[in-house]
Symmetry: D2
Subunit: 472 residues, 4 copies
């Protein structure tokens, strides 16, 4: 059999269990049993022994047998009904139900439980990023804009920055979980006609049945007005939220790949792992690259989800069927694989202070030109004049470094020698030196992030302590 | 000049005003003035007459002059600073600010105000759909799944179904508005170093300045840890929410296009409008098609937004710049054009009860087969036997209608003639007749939708009463 | 194990064989053997008995053992080298090769062979569409624009229209196959340094080796300047061509779903198949809906491909790895599943002349208004006057039909009664009657399409005669 | 008026002229005149003076007047007919034509001419890249995989690599141009009924008319079987080809942004341009970032194009209308802006040999480990032993550099000191030194690329010599 590579190589057992054929069939059978029990409690003639018989066999899942039946009937739900009935020796499941009364609700349950797992993993990740951020709170690095040295910051601040992006996406996914609406038992076109007919028109019984079924599913809300299907924009919203949640990790990993190129940091190695066999010095950012790959994949599934939303004809059809069979599990496997990989990256990543210090020393005189200018202005020179002088020397220094005319950054000396700048070498060196310790408000920003994460982790201690599995 | 077709043909004046070059420049100048006032209040030496001078000229926008400056400096913000300074005759704007301290905040203001307008339009739309849904609450139509007749429902219920999808998207966009975070004054790499320097390291003054600026902007939340830019996943979340909000209208319009093909309903005409000139009988669903077109467009802008999220290098750069110049305004023009068009559709649409009745009569015997089977089972026949008999006759009737062997649906007569079915022609006809009045729980579902919309509209009366402009 | 649902439910055995883990490993081993043979022929010391030993075990594929090795080395290629070496009892494979020298070429071989299969399936499909088009060449139907009756055409013409779209996409994919470039043996960064080193700097031997290897692969062209990887825009071009090739089938299926709603045609049933069990009259367009679903899926994989193209950093990395593991096989499984399904649709589809005739009769008077106007003008009335009169009556007739005031289309009588129209009832009826036989140039257009397809099928008889497998 | 930012800020005058409202209207009028002339030649009664009158006013374009008419008729083509007729004082245009007979053909003409311009710009770009590639053919740089130093290559080779990707995309767009099919005069539903009626059923005259019209348009091929519209997969193919053509520039620019981060190269400055005003040392990769931005934008328009393809209902409708109004011009403006920017980058980019040499010196010992191992094996040591020893020392050296234990790469000394490696310091230094001159087959690869570009440029000298306009 050809395996689902996302499930088998990258996803965690918890996600595999939800989306496997076996897992889904058990969810369906539990759903049918819940419906039967509720129907019986509301007066339908369903004997307890039948329910017991179904309960007893519900975990006996033989996918080959079911597929055999489907090849004959060309109807997947019918095949699963027949299998379950034969196993139990009764014919009480699926009363007054249409296929979608089963499949929509069970698929939404798969989605909902997966959302909760991913939401929890985002908490685990935030907790770790916050820890790392505090670890490197004082490690001053050269911040870059346009990939070019710009001003000092700290490595901890850089991590908090991507962490806060994740925090924002976490809040959005929590909103989604809190509002998630299940379709319920609505019948073939959404009017509940068949359940009403089963209960001889007693709308209160139909309402009670649905309430009971939703309680079984454990979801926070129910759609009232649907057709054969619930609106596919809900699936779109889900996949969009997953893609959103991949953005922070993706940016952090891209930045770590850039830092690895400068050897200022790396994603690290697992204990015992080494670099490429042909080039042992190489510490390749394979896991970070994989995180970026998963982000690309998720955007593909989002395109699929977007192709279904807003395309409902009348009360619905199954043009979404093959798409959802692929997109829903695969999007969840992808975000799950992304988080498993990313948690490993955050656990194993490393920074190299010696290389960082060298980089800082090289760039600091340039980075501090804004401050030098402000100080020069305070010392009396006109802003335009100071700007012009600094610019001339900065550009000349850069050019001389690039052509090899000088081998170390001598901007401070050049400025000290220029009469337009009313600051001497010591004063200038002192300004530059402040940069080594001065990352502005970085420290307090990190604290703010840590506080937010800390509240979240306290509220979800189990989620915060999740340990990822080993990755390939 | 080549116009922006989305802005000029489709968007409303309110959106045009927010995103026009002129509108944006005024927002920027107001922002600069707000910063100057706060800086002065916190002790910087900015004379009141300078602020007055800026205030006086802030609405004098000459885009050609600014573009002229930009062609020289190749720096858009610099060009706008120079222009404003020259107009006012002072040089106090942009103190301690980096370009992004201006542009990020102002662009977020454009986004935020646009989001509020669209959020309000979704309320206006919901109010109208609810009204239409109640108008046609009792008009029984033939519900379709797989585009084929399935069971009875009502036209009102069908509208409520798409309306409830919009209600769900409305709640999601409201969550987004409630949590929307602005970048604030964070400096070149996010550490607030330049403002700290300006206030000689006094962090409390920098915090007070930012607080004051955010109050000016009127946004609910502020990022703490950012780089040069705020995370582009926030833009992604915005465009995704707009796309989500387009889904309900898109499905409703697709369904209306299908109904127009059966002449059971149409998007109607504006007073005085007529059909195609060559084929005057044609009532083309041009506006519905346009709504579907806008939905396709939005998904394209979402792809652009997805291409920026998760792609931040270090503290950021401007690879997002040209994308956001296009994507942000154009996505808002598109959703605005969609809603202007859709409001018109909802206002002008019409249903044709005579044609609907004909369709119902043709299909009802088929649609009621589930009920017939249930009644036959109640009358004593085995489920399998009844199913087999009904299936034989239904399929034969369909085939005879398709080959022209019969010209009207005579399924009832065939079933009455079959001994396996213990129901006579009168009983069967009575069952079929119930279908004409029986759309299950449709009526109460419509009421539930109407109640939800009514609450929303009461809370936002102005939004609910919005009148769309004329459309092309 | 969790199966790949696209492979297992929808794809044909030929595609499964190419992309299965086992199939790929055999392709790799054959590639290594081809390299060894060429290296030996060019003078490297590789004993024949080693090559024989590798040949002997090349089909012994134990994926579990390989995965076990990968979990230790965390390097997939290394795991496969070790497995093959251990099986053969030699260590001669992969000489002077880097991982990508193996994987790029083998993956391109998978892509290339899959492209050829799909190209051939498009020929099989065209042959069938042409046959169907000729079968229904004279069946006049009511053409629709905006989903509303417009003018007469024939069902054969409608099919040729979608067929010609496919013909155009077929030509594009053939261009792609004809130009397809393989990476070849280029070494770790594309400079062939390791092979040059192996052959002691002898560039002619390295060139001969590559030539030999490309001959083994059977591909038409080779890249010269690459890095570690070949440009991912080539993958993008491939997935784009597949998506392109899905467009014609998707439009035809959408149209068939629309026709099924009017009961003028359907996708038909397999022998023995019947409709939905609860609603036996329903002939659901499940397969057409599935084709549309596959099209949506392909657009998702195209987004993934687009996310890789244009994102090469330096000489390349593996951020594309997880994406290509998913996107390449799954895109091919999807287009393959689409064509298997679509071939079945084309084989089983049916048209219902009696219903079509009824529809034509209803609409013909409207459809012929253009002709009526032209004839009226020829008979002397002014164009504007004729237009005005026809429009008034057409609109009135439509309105009366919709409100139930009249039950059949009486436009001819109304026009005959209007003095402005210088044509009597017989003349008008004669004009309308021509519509029933007159579909303009439809007949000759169908012939042109049939001729083009016929040439193609003659050139590829085996492809044209392909029989699809059974579908679910 | 709100401008189209892509057109006004980034696109060249040639593209603006094709897609401006004025440009399009003139193309339409020329098309109508061509049709009238052909109709007259084929016997229709159209006086020469009418044709002369139309010719005379064809360039008098008053878009405001046309828009005024459209607001009344709500029909854009009708508005343009009336305007042209009123200007000329005749009513002979648009005979036997439906709106799409005009708009499809003219829009395809816009697409076709734009494609040719972009195709030509890709030639201009290739010529420049080849020149740059030859300029830096011998400049050895440190090739990177995973963004980490891997093996030596040359800067020229790196440029050729991205150039060859463009060459491949160029061939694909040329195929597209060569096969581009125009819709022709096919009437309301594609059957040419109205033109046949106009020519009293004379099919040969209708064929002659179409032939004449296609000759006027200058396109290579014509569709035979179409409906109201030509298949939208052709638009998809066009936008896909543009996206494809953006991939090489995008990868080159991303790599240049990375190199700028290491100061080994930069996109350079325009004469007189300087860095950021606050940080004058910064040579920001603004233009490269813009190129990457355009690539993101194009993928968004591709999503829009993908949303239209495969979505034709029956003979077509206008759900594509608003999408194509946006997507087609904006996609062309984007690729044009991308090429204008990219040409400037290629013209102004610079490399910094002094910095490059420093980087090479730092990495060469690592990069040459593969060669060292091969030489060690030749000198008698076992492969595994050599690999183990080299790996130990390489990893130790890397670690010591990162922790600051050593400040220069002393791997050669460490290997010389290890008894397992049968090579002394001089031998090892000599091997490392070869790396400085040895970029494998890079030189000959560059020549192959230069030859291919040279042939292309010779065949299209005007295209090759195109000079881009100034960019912002």
């Amino acid at each position: 059999m050809i395996p689902n590579v996302l499930a088998e190589r990258y996803a965690s057992p918890a996600l595999q269990a939800i989306w496997s054929a076996e897992g889904r069939i058990v969810l369906e059978r539990e759903f049918w049993i819940a419906v039967m029990k509720a129907q019986r409690d509301l007066g339908l003639d369903i004997p307890q022994e039948a329910i017991d018989a179904y309960e007893k066999v519900k975990d006996q899942v033989d996918t080959a047998s079911i597929m055999e039946r489907e090849r004959i009937t060309r109807h997947d739900v019918k095949a699963r009904i027949e299998e379950f009935n034969d196993l139990a020796g009764h014919e009480h499941v699926h009363k007054g139900m249409t296929s979608r009364d089963l499949t929509e609700n069970v698929e939404q349950l798969q989605v909902f439980r997966s959302l909760q797992i991913i939401r929890d993993k985002s908490i685990a990740t935030l907790a770790r990023i916050s820890k790392r951020s505090q670890q490197w709170a004082d490690l001053v690095i050269t911040a870059r804009t346009h990939n070019v040295a710009a001003q000092p910051t700290t490595f901890g601040k850089r991590l908090s920055m991507f962490g806060e992006e994740m925090l924002s996406a976490h809040a959005a996914i929590q909103d989604l979980v809190d509002r998630y609406q299940v379709r319920g038992l609505k019948g073939a076109v959404g009017t509940q006609m068949d359940q009403l007919s089963l209960f001889e028109g007693d709308a209160s019984k139909v309402a009670a049945l649905e309430k009971s079924v939703v309680a079984h599913l454990g979801m926070p809300a129910v759609w009232t007005n649907v057709g054969q299907v619930y609106p596919r924009s809900l699936d779109f919203r889900v996949v969009s939220a997953l893609t959103d949640l991949a953005s922070g990790p993706s940016s952090l990993c891209k930045t770590l790949r850039l830092m690895a190129g400068h050897e200022t940091a790396s994603e690290g190695f697992a204990p015992g792992q080494t670099g490429s066999s042909a080039m042992p010095h190489k510490m390749n950012s394979r896991s970070c690259e994989r995180v970026n790959g998963f982000h690309v994949i998720l955007k593909g599934y989002l395109t699929m989800a977007g192709g279904l939303a807003g395309d409902q004809w009348n009360e619905g059809d199954v043009s979404c069927s093959v798409v959802r069979r692929v997109m829903l599990p695969d999007a969840f496997y992808s975000i799950d694989g992304l988080y498993e990989t990313f948690l490993t990256v955050v656990d194993q990543m490393d920074a190299y202070p010696a290389v960082i210090a060298k980089e800082n020393a090289h760039y600091l005189p340039f980075l501090m030109t804004t401050t030098i200018m402000m100080e020069a202005v305070k010392a009396g020179v006109g802003r335009e004049t100071a700007h012009k002088a600094i610019k001339e020397h900065a550009v000349a220094t850069v050019n001389d470094l690039r052509t090899g005319k000088v081998s170390t950054n001598d901007l401070v000396r050049r400025l000290a020698d220029d009469e337009r700048i009313p600051l001497d070498q010591d004063q200038l060196a002192a300004i530059v030196a402040t940069g080594e310790r001065n990352a502005g408000a970085a420290a307090s920003q990190i604290v703010a992030f840590a506080d937010a994460v800390s509240s979240l982790a306290s509220a979800h201690p189990e989620a915060a302590n999740y340990q990822p599995g080993g990755i390939l």
